[in-house]
């Protein structure tokens, strides 16, 4: 019997973690809370003498920064209002524990187990009835940890445990039970598959529910037919595998479905539409599209890029840090799985408003503030630690994301040699590389394909886990230059080995033995091993595993030969000598019946949006209902409000949390312009990666606008493609060498209206992609982003399409940024396209009657080519795309970033704003805040203005000039019109003086 020792470590002086918790608590209305202390608890299992105590303290405690004690029960009588001690559940990745055990082994210390935890002490008044809410909202997450209140928590040691650990039966020590994987698992003997009857509808229906398989009746029918010839029973593990393989997440059932509209029209499967657009464009730089783990591009001889963007929405909703963290890890593995070295990450985040009232939160939903801080920390942690710059992204806020936050994580990889895809051959060994297998992330694919409800966080605990970027970094080191070590490769993502090997074995067959896999702890049922989504694992096929073994050994990576590809077409899995899976890969991959779905197409309002003043509802835009009566001051107020809107406001504090400098290849950064008080705060449109000594590079741009989607999904599809393309063109990307990634996050497509929105969006996106000649090369859909509230109400996300554009930058020396550069230069608007207010940002801050989203601009592709040529010829010193908030916000952002003023008295000619216009209020509103596609503001040196305007074929007009003064004068209301100090714009934008 070995004792348990606990070292408690407290930060001396200010602890930033305590501050963060306190400010979150204050923001959530616990105003009387005075202070927070957070202490780290490190539990050791073993015979620790006093010498070992001091050795451990020497490693764990820096006396200048921290104090520590081995007697944490002392002083408990000191009054705190609330004390919570928590420890991680057994099996949740714990880097500190792992590293300590490693050191202990190396030093020969008698430490057998390590568990880490936390003590949080609060001081100040807490209303008694709110203690439990406060604990759950701010202090703990039942998905990854358990806790006790006002007493000492007991750790649960996993490592070295001799008894099989059944997660479902532990947890008696704690106030909250540990999450159960499923009550069904208790029936499963550790080494054998269980055969379940699948003869009747009732059998299948019960299984579908009990195991959360998320299959529909036609699919269950196909399962029944397959097993009818096999005695009407199915091994549990095969059913689980079918459920994963046929999940929306893995099979993209909706994107492959046969769709008819409510008016009886046939719609081509959505995936076919996207592929057809790519085929029609037939771009020579596309090496591979919609195949394997990522799209592959080749812009210049000798270098290819792998590009991929994934969603990790459901996991991030229930455990924001772990969900976002493993989302980044997963998409990096996608790029590794395409045999490319990862070089950069992207992130697009959609949250509920940070000021959402606690009372409005559906049951079981984590507050948006905490989701945001967890997600940002999770992304920063993975990207920074694995050593990749996080470069392009967006942060959006809308009440529609309160219950379903969205996390899109992208990765770009680079390879020197031409990419050759080559399937596994019969006889190749199957080798698993990387992390050990545990009960983590089980059923992630079906979980993410189902609607969440108030109990999701509790029952889906096993679906989320914390990443281990250091292990994945070792995989990068092994594989990025290790093309010679394997024949084919794929990552272990949703569905775990069952998906990875299942996909590789398609049409060829494989035999697998699970017994050799390294386990985090004993006691997993075979189906859990086969389906585990333990992170940081890759599967490779190789004719000769020996060189791979050697390379892994030198890097300290687990490398396990678990079987071979066979050529029989059957997938056979064994555990303890028993065959537990024996399934036809043909049925597994092609046996799923095609879904039949019905779509009700949206009927957006497209009337009257561009032919005059916007419609204002009662009590609308100002105290007066007449726009004409509006004065300059009211427009100024609107502009400042827009700049302060969370979607538009400065994101520098978030961006600085990501390392965007590592690799030294970030040529156009996400933050650009003149330092203000030492900080560069301006936002770039697109970012550019160019290796330090390379003459060319690639640009990354993001397009996303759910507000257009809520107004007119088809125009959202067009507009976000345009926005992504606009962003890469604005920084120097070549509009004729662009590829796109499409990521759809949607509600439940089995609702006709929701599917109709999706159909319209795909049509719009394809139309714009073809117009730009920018092919889709990879995509991902995440559907069922809905939350079924305890009240029975459904909360679906707004239709959200994220487009990532990746463009060739032919001359790294000719890249540009949006910050104003020097006084005297001319300011021009490029693109005289119509504007609209439907889905605009002014409609988010002022009550404007619903109207259309802006139309696609068919002349945009030609305009972008001309602009790009002008940029390459050095005629343009700054360029900013006009998007959220319209021309006024674009100009303000350029002024803030460059810390220069401008005097822009001349409105673009298509607008009707002049002093004599009786409609001048309405016209001014359009000039300043209307949103349209295909537009930029550019800064051009006076000597180049004539040449530039000529080059743009009349599609550019001078609106004014950059000035040294600190005043920004906007093109409305004439000479004495709207002028605001740049400092005031900046203050509104960054939220403080």
């Amino acid at each position: 019997m070995t004792a348990v020792h606990c070292l408690m470590v407290v930060v001396r002086g200010d602890d930033p973690r305590g501050h963060a918790l306190l400010s979150d608590a204050h923001a959530m209305g616990y105003a009387s809370l005075q202070s927070v202390t957070i202490s780290d608890l490190i539990f050791f299992q073993g015979s620790l003498g006093s010498n070992l105590h001091s050795d451990l303290e020497a490693i764990l405690v820096d006396p200048l920064l921290q104090s520590s004690t081995w007697f944490r029960s002392a002083g408990l009588e000191d009054v705190t209002s609330l004390m919570v001690e928590s420890v991680l559940h057994a099996g949740v990745t714990d880097a500190v524990a792992e590293q300590l055990l490693r050191v202990a082994r190396r030093k020969g210390w008698p430490v057998h187990g390590v568990v880490t935890g936390r003590r949080i002490e609060l001081r100040g008044e807490i209303p008694h009835g709110l203690r439990e809410t406060l604990i759950r909202r701010l202090m703990v997450n039942p998905v990854i940890e358990h806790w006790v209140v006002d007493s000492l928590v007991e750790p649960v040691f996993a490592q070295g445990a001799s008894e099989p650990i059944d997660v479902a039966d532990k947890g008696v020590l704690t106030e909250n039970p540990l999450p159960s994987v499923s009550t069904a698992t208790k029936a499963i003997h550790a080494n054998q598959a269980v055969h379940l009857p699948v003869r009747t509808d009732a059998d299948l229906d019960a299984l579908n529910r009990a195991r959360g398989m998320a299959l529909d009746p036609a699919e269950l029918d196909a399962v029944r037919s397959y097993y009818a010839g096999r005695g009407g029973v199915a091994p549990d593990i095969e059913l689980e595998m079918i459920a994963q393989t046929w999940s929306e997440h893995c099979a993209h059932k909706t994107f492959r479905a046969r769709i008819t509209t409510t008016t009886g029209d046939e719609i081509a499967p959505l995936l076919d539409q996207l592929r057809r657009a790519t085929a029609q464009i037939d771009a020579r730089y596309v090496v591979s599209a919609f195949v394997g783990n990522a799209g592959i591009l080749q812009f210049t001889p000798g270098t290819t890029f792998a590009v991929k963007c994934e969603t990790h929405n459901h996991p991030s909703a229930i455990e924001p840090f772990g969900g976002a963290n493993t989302g980044v890890g997963g998409v990096i593995r996608d790029v590794l799985g395409a045999s490319h070295r990862p070089i950069a990450c992207t992130d697009i985040l959609c949250f509920g408003p940070a000021d959402t009232s606690d009372a409005l939160l559906p049951d079981g939903v984590i507050h948006p503030r905490r989701v945001r801080s967890g997600v940002v920390a999770g992304i920063a942690d993975y990207g920074n630690k694995i050593g990749l710059p996080t470069l392009a992204g967006a942060v959006l806020y809308d009440p529609g994301y309160v219950a379903n936050p969205l996390v899109f994580a992208g990765c770009i990889g680079m390879a020197k040699s031409p990419y050759v895809a080559e399937g596994p051959l019969p006889g190749d060994r199957i080798v698993v590389l990387g992390g050990a297998t545990g009960r983590d992330g089980i059923r992630g694919a079906t979980f993410s394909s189902a609607t969440m409800d108030a109990t999701t966080g509790d029952v889906a605990g096993a679906s989320v886990q914390i990443g281990d970027p250091i292990t994945e970094k070792l995989l990068v080191d092994l594989l990025a230059d290790g093309r010679h070590l394997y024949r084919s490769i794929t990552d272990c993502g949703a569905g775990g080995l069952s998906s990875a090997i299942g996909e590789m074995a398609e049409g060829i067959g494989a035999e697998v033995d699970l017994d050799q896999l390294p386990m985090k702890y004993p006691g997993l049922a075979p189906w859990e091993v086969w389906l585990s989504e333990a992170q940081e694992r890759m599967v490779v096929a190789t004719a000769d595993p020996e060189p791979l073994h050697q390379a892994c050994e030198s890097l300290g990576i687990h490398c396990t030969d678990i079987g071979a590809f066979t050529g029989t077409g059957r997938l056979v899995v064994r555990s303890s000598g028993h065959p537990i899976v024996d399934i036809d890969t043909g049925f597994l991959h092609d046996g799923r019946p095609t879904r039949q779905m019905v779509a009700k197409l949206p009927q957006p309002n497209r009337i009257g949006a561009f032919a005059g003043a916007p419609h204002l509802s009662e009590g609308g835009l100002s105290s007066s209902t007449s726009l004409d009566a509006m004065n300059v001051a009211e427009f100024e107020t609107i502009l400042l409000e827009l700049l302060a809107h969370p979607n538009i406001a400065c994101k520098a504090p978030v961006i600085r949390r990501y390392d965007h400098e590592i690799r030294g290849a970030t040529l156009v950064r996400p933050l650009v312009g003149e330092p203000i008080g030492g900080h560069i705060i301006g936002h770039a449109d697109g970012t550019v990666i160019a290796e330090p000594l390379a003459p060319h590079g690639i640009a990354l741009g993001i397009g996303v606008n759910p507000w257009f989607g809520m107004t007119d999904p088809e125009r959202m599809g067009q507009s976000v493609v345009d926005e992504a393309v606009r962003n890469v063109v604005a920084c120097g990307g070549d509009p004729d060498q662009i590829a796109l990634l499409d990521n759809f996050s949607w509600g439940d497509p089995r609702r006709e209206e929701t599917l109709g929105d999706l159909v319209a969006t795909v049509a719009g996106a394809c139309e714009a992609a073809v117009a730009f000649g920018a092919p889709f090369v990879s995509g991902k859909d995440s559907l069922n982003n809905e939350y079924l509230g305890a009240d029975g109400g459904r909360h679906a996300v707004p239709p959200t399409l994220v487009i990532t554009a990746v463009a060739h930058v032919p001359e790294a020396s000719r890249t540009i940024t949006p910050d104003l550069k020097s006084a005297g230069n001319a300011l021009l608007v490029v693109g005289m396209t119509p504007v609209a207010f439907g889905g605009s940002h002014i409609a988010l801050v002022r009550d404007i009657a619903p109207s259309s989203a802006p139309p696609f601009d068919q002349s945009a592709p030609a305009r972008y080519r001309r602009l790009h040529a002008a940029i390459r010829d050095g005629l343009v010193v700054s360029c900013h795309d006009i998007s959220e908030g319209g021309l006024a916000v674009a100009l303000a952002e350029m002024a803030i970033a460059g810390n220069l003023g401008f005097d822009a008295p001349t409105p673009p000619p298509t607008f009707r704003a002049d002093a004599s216009d009786p409609q001048r209020g309405a016209a001014a509103l359009e000039v300043l805040f209307g949103e349209g596609n295909g537009r930029f503001v550019v800064e051009v040196e006076q000597r180049h203005v004539v040449a530039f305007v000529a080059r743009m074929s009349g599609d550019a007009t001078v609106i004014g000039a950059v000035v040294t003064g600190e005043i920004a004068r906007f093109p409305v209301f004439g000479e004495d019109g709207m002028a605001i100090p740049v400092a005031a714009l900046r203050q509104a934008w960054i939220g403080r003086p």
Partner: protein, 244 residues
């Protein structure tokens, strides 16, 4: 033509700016050789043969238990006081970011009588942005020897705040241990200290990343006509002294 000095670049699991350091070393005229700490026992003699030693940035061992702590434990285990011996032997040693954290935990300065630590940034979060550094006129550090003007380069760390008492801070200054200071302090570091040298002047530990400013277009002010302050010069200094 003289031989390119060999630079031993020590890495641990989680080291991630080694390619950046290698590029800087190559451009500065050295021949970088990456040596994983796991293989150090086998190649110890090779380390003794190297002309300079570099500990690059990253998150060695995931920063578990505190930045640099486990890397230092590991290096202490296999190298003992090899780094101080190398410096006394006039071989330049540089620890950048996580490398600096490792040098501090190894006791380079504690052994010289300076009690100091690298704590969490004053604002409590990881921060990535460009800073300007000025060499302290008092220093005898060979890495900053003769640098004209400021050095511009990024910081990217969460635990870079030099923590020490007033007496230690003055002593560090007076003895020329402070090699580089921030023009604008990004992390609350005592005395704006960005980098420290040892008694020999051959060791430099610093939080910022001069290896990320080796060509002029990397400067964020490049498009605004602002530049200069190449970080490459620090590596050129090290390589020059390694060649002697």
């Amino acid at each position: 033509m003289s031989r390119r000095p060999e630079a031993a670049v020590l890495t641990a699991p989680g080291t991630n700016r080694d390619p950046d350091a290698c590029l800087a070393l190559e451009l500065a005229g050295a021949n970088p050789v990456v040596i994983p700490v796991a293989s150090l026992l086998d190649v110890r003699s090779r380390l003794s043969d190297s002309d300079m030693i570099v500990i690059p940035g990253g998150f060695s061992y995931a920063d578990a238990l505190g930045a640099g702590r486990l890397f230092a434990t590991e290096l202490d285990h296999v190298l003992g006081d090899h780094l101080s011996v190398a410096a006394a032997d006039r071989r330049p040693v540089i620890g950048i970011c996580n490398g600096f954290q490792t040098l501090v935990r190894l006791g380079i300065w504690t052994r010289e009588g300076y009690r100091l630590a690298l704590g969490h940034n004053a604002d409590g979060v990881f921060t990535c942005e460009w800073v300007n550094l000025v060499p302290d006129p008092m220093t005898r550090c060979i890495w900053t020897d003769g640098l004209e003007g400021e050095v511009a380069c990024p910081v990217a760390h969460g635990e870079g705040r030099v923590v020490c008492d007033d007496a230690t801070a003055s002593a560090l200054m007076e003895t020329g241990r402070v090699a580089l200071r921030y023009v604008r302090n990004p992390n609350g570091s005592r005395g704006d200290i960005a980098g420290l040298t040892d008694a020999t002047g051959f060791i430099l530990g610093l939080m910022p990343h001069p290896e990320n400013h080796v060509v002029s277009r990397q400067h964020p002010g490049f498009r605004r006509g602002i530049g200069g302050g190449l970080g490459l010069r620090i590596f050129e200094n090290g390589v020059r002294h390694a060649g002697r």
